[in-house]
């Protein structure tokens, strides 16, 4: 227990270093969803606000619409970029509220509002190779109904959704057959001619890269997904004014080329955002306009390297903090509960059953469930990790206590040990190897699951993984995955050592010579 205590002290010290930061300026928190375009837009908004003198905390890569929206409602974040179609359908559940006025009317009760559209519509698009479009003279979707010998292949989701292909076919009277294709493979398939038409998003960077023609939705079948800053009404007026200025500055082509820079040129979100803002200096405040000049190449390389290690270090500390606190809680609560119930068979079975049930909830769902109660960030992540690591602790402890050799239990009772003495002197030491094995399992599970905590803005080693997944950037994914794997490995070694200290010595069953 002494060793464990010291380890936890160490964790505590590390985490206070990790959170150490000056907080003199007014801090705003900007969120983003976990796909490229939304990262870029959030970064543009953040840098713009920073140029106006605000301190920005970035909670990027939140795992989905409801998580972002929930975070905004609870005030965990102050702004993120949403899409009007998503707002009216998913959040407000009312797709007739599709004008900004109607949406703002519905958002009023939650003290939220949308600001003027950034200037582009990211909706479903039907695309084909530009030279084929020209050769056949196709410009709009309605022209597809008169075409023959076209190979249509759509993403599986689009093929099934009522507002996808089935509805489109009906609305435009298209009789061509379509098959399914993995979205990631569709562009390549278009390029080599194995398919002719597919679905895409209208701002995908690939549209430019592969020289694709987007067909005009001449019957306005697809809903509008205008990108809009979604903000809390208590946002400082200067911040709001800055975001209003962003309205109308990004059209489909600009967004496509920014997405392209991220996917094909490997630029970071912040570089893409910086590039955008330096070509829109009018958006920046006067002092910031002078600072907006890009730094020289040399200093950037050096800065990147040290930035890489310090960010890995920071993420690792946050990761340790999340898992450390969660484990401390699950071990103490798990042990306590186990000690209370192990003698009562039905109760201990129920407890194991309930904690097993908790573990069958997919981790991302459990994390999402935490948001309405605990908001986003570290707290809900710790609570979710706590629930996850509870089962191995309880199951192993109860099982170990129940299965102490009945002869030893009888002897412990018969020689006159009190209940507390039996537990302390006999049962717990005998159960220790199994309890430790449970804690060990819990630790490894926590370290792994904690990478998912990045989806709800808790940071840690999941941050580079989530961003890397969005970017399809293996390097970035490895910056999270390798340290996480190393942590798990080190935890295993630590437990080997603890088991050596407390267990193997006491259970040396070999006869000495």
């Amino acid at each position: 227990m002494k060793v464990l205590g010291k380890f936890l002290l160490f964790l505590g010290a590390m985490s206070s270093i990790a959170t150490w930061a000056g907080e003199s300026r007014l801090t705003l928190t900007v969120g983003s969803k976990n796909f490229n375009e939304n990262y870029v837009l959030a970064e543009i908004a953040s840098q713009l606000l920073e140029s106006r003198g605000f301190e920005i905390e970035r909670k990027f890569g939140l795992g989905g619409t409801l998580i972002c929206f929930g975070a905004l409602v609870s005030g965990e974040i102050d702004a993120y970029v949403e899409y009007t179609g998503t707002l009216s359908e998913v959040i407000l559940g009312d797709d007739t509220a599709n004008t900004s006025g109607a949406i703002n009317q519905s958002l009023k009760v939650q003290n939220l509002e949308i600001l003027p559209s950034l200037g582009f519509n990211n909706t479903y698009a039907i695309v084909l190779r530009r030279e084929m479009a020209q050769a056949r003279g196709i410009h709009s979707i309605s022209q597809l109904s008169t075409q023959q010998n076209l190979k249509l292949a759509f993403s599986h989701e689009f093929l099934r959704r009522a507002d996808g292909w089935p509805g489109l076919q009906r609305a435009y009277g298209i009789r061509l057959a379509a098959r399914g294709i993995e979205h990631g493979l569709a562009y390549q398939a278009l390029a080599d001619g194995s398919i002719d038409v597919t679905d895409a998003y209208s701002t995908d960077g690939e549209l430019r890269r592969y020289n694709l023609k987007m067909l005009k939705d001449d019957k306005s079948y697809f809903p509008q997904y205008l990108a809009v800053p979604l903000v809390r009404k208590d946002l400082p007026a200067r911040a709001r004014a800055a975001l209003v200025l962003l309205g109308g500055t990004i059209n489909e082509t600009t967004m496509q080329s920014m997405n392209e820079s991220v996917v094909f040129e490997g630029l970071s979100f912040s570089e893409v955002a910086k590039r955008f803002l330096s070509s829109h200096v009018d958006l920046l405040s006067e002092t910031a306009q002078q600072e907006a000049l890009p730094p020289s190449e040399d200093s950037e390389n050096v800065a990147q390297e040290s930035e890489l290690f310090s960010s890995i270090f920071r993420n690792t500390l946050v990761h340790l903090k999340l898992t450390g606190i969660a484990l401390l809680l699950s071990v103490s609560v798990g042990l306590l509960l186990s000690l209370l119930v192990y003698r009562i068979t039905w109760l201990s079975r129920t407890l194991i059953y309930i904690s097993g049930l908790l573990q069958t909830i997919p981790s991302i769902a459990l994390l999402a469930l935490m948001i309405p109660i605990f908001g986003i960030g570290e707290l809900p992540a710790i609570v979710a990790l706590f629930f996850y690591s509870l089962l191995p602790v309880i199951r192993n402890t109860v099982t170990a206590l129940v299965h102490v050799d009945p002869l030893l239990k009888r002897v412990a009772l018969a020689i006159g040990l009190r209940a507390s003495e039996r537990l302390r002197i006999v049962y717990l030491p005998l159960a220790l190897p199994n309890i430790l094995a449970g804690v060990r399992t819990a630790t490894v599970i926590s370290i792994g699951t904690a990478t998912l905590a990045a989806f709800i803005g808790a940071g840690g080693l999941g941050d580079p993984i989530v961003t890397g997944l969005a970017l399809n950037d293996t390097n970035l994914i490895l910056q999270g995955a390798i340290p996480a794997a190393l942590l798990a490995l080190m935890a295993e070694l630590l437990f080997e050592f603890i088991e050596y200290l407390f267990v193997s010595r006491h259970f040396d069953h070999t006869h000495s010579s």
Binding site: L407, L408, R410, V411, A412, L413, A414, I415, G416, L417, R418, E421, I425, V426, P429, L430, H506, F507, D508, H509, T510, H511, S512
Partner: protein, 242 residues
């Protein structure tokens, strides 16, 4: 003097009636053997004396007093207890197994050390064995350590639940010898549960013969050997002479 008195004791586990209206009294400062085959209820009978089990009906008195309802652990500490297989705690050194209760009773280290040394020699164990874990000891050595633990607090009453049964004949003979020679045991009221009539005759001076939860005969070893009450006891007696 009567050390232990059972009157009208019955005990059932679920539907199985283990003891049926058992009554007897046992003399002080002597060894009594409780004889019976497996399932006769002899081990249950023993564990009623230290209140591991409570009777469904009837009363038990130990040295003229009934078994307390509360803080029964205090009562148990005055009774030495040793079992078949020794039941040593595997995570504790032999020394710590023997001295556990003395430590809980706040004995001084010197008193503990003196007493352990004395017990080890009584049981024919070399002192360095005390520094080993039970897993490092042979079955016979473990059993001796178990007896040392039972004797540590100078109990007035010693309960032995077949402690010699699982040993090889040589080791058993040697342990019997130490047991009989021990001054520790000489003044102590000892109840020895066994299924071995020869062992009973060798170690005990008084006997209770149990079969299927009923007492068949109670008396001194001489009385029983001289006048078995029925053919079952007669059979047992003949076994002791073979």
């Amino acid at each position: 003097m009567t050390a232990i008195e059972f009157s009208g004791i019955s005990k059932a586990f679920g539907r199985t009636q283990v003891l049926k209206d058992v009554s007897f009294s046992l003399p002080e400062a002597q060894t009594t053997a409780v004889i019976g085959e497996s399932g006769s209820g002899k081990s249950t009978l023993l564990q009623m004396i230290n209140a591991v089990y409570r009777p469904d009906s009837g009363t038990i008195s130990v040295f003229g007093e009934s078994i307390p309802e509360k803080s029964v652990w205090e009562f148990r500490r005055k009774i030495g207890y040793a079992v078949q297989g020794a039941g040593l705690f595997p995570h504790m050194l032999a020394y710590d197994n023997i001295s556990l209760l003395a430590r809980l009773e706040n004995w001084s280290e010197t008193d503990i050390s003196k007493r352990v040394t004395q017990l080890l020699s009584t049981m024919g164990l070399s002192p360095e064995l005390a520094r080993k874990f039970p897993g490092q000891l042979s079955g016979g050595q473990q059993q001796r350590v178990g007896l040392c633990r039972a004797l540590m607090l100078h109990p007035r009453l010693l309960l032995l639940d077949e402690p010699f049964s699982a040993l090889d004949p040589m080791t058993r003979q040697d342990l019997h010898k130490h047991f009989l020679a021990s001054k520790e045991v000489a003044g102590t009221t000892t109840i020895l549960v066994t299924h071995d009539m020869q062992e009973a005759v060798e170690l005990a001076s008084y006997m209770v013969i149990l079969s299927s939860g009923r007492v068949l005969q109670v008396g001194t070893v001489e009385e029983i050997l001289a006048a078995p009450v029925n053919s079952y006891v007669e059979e047992l007696v003949s076994l002791s002479r073979s």
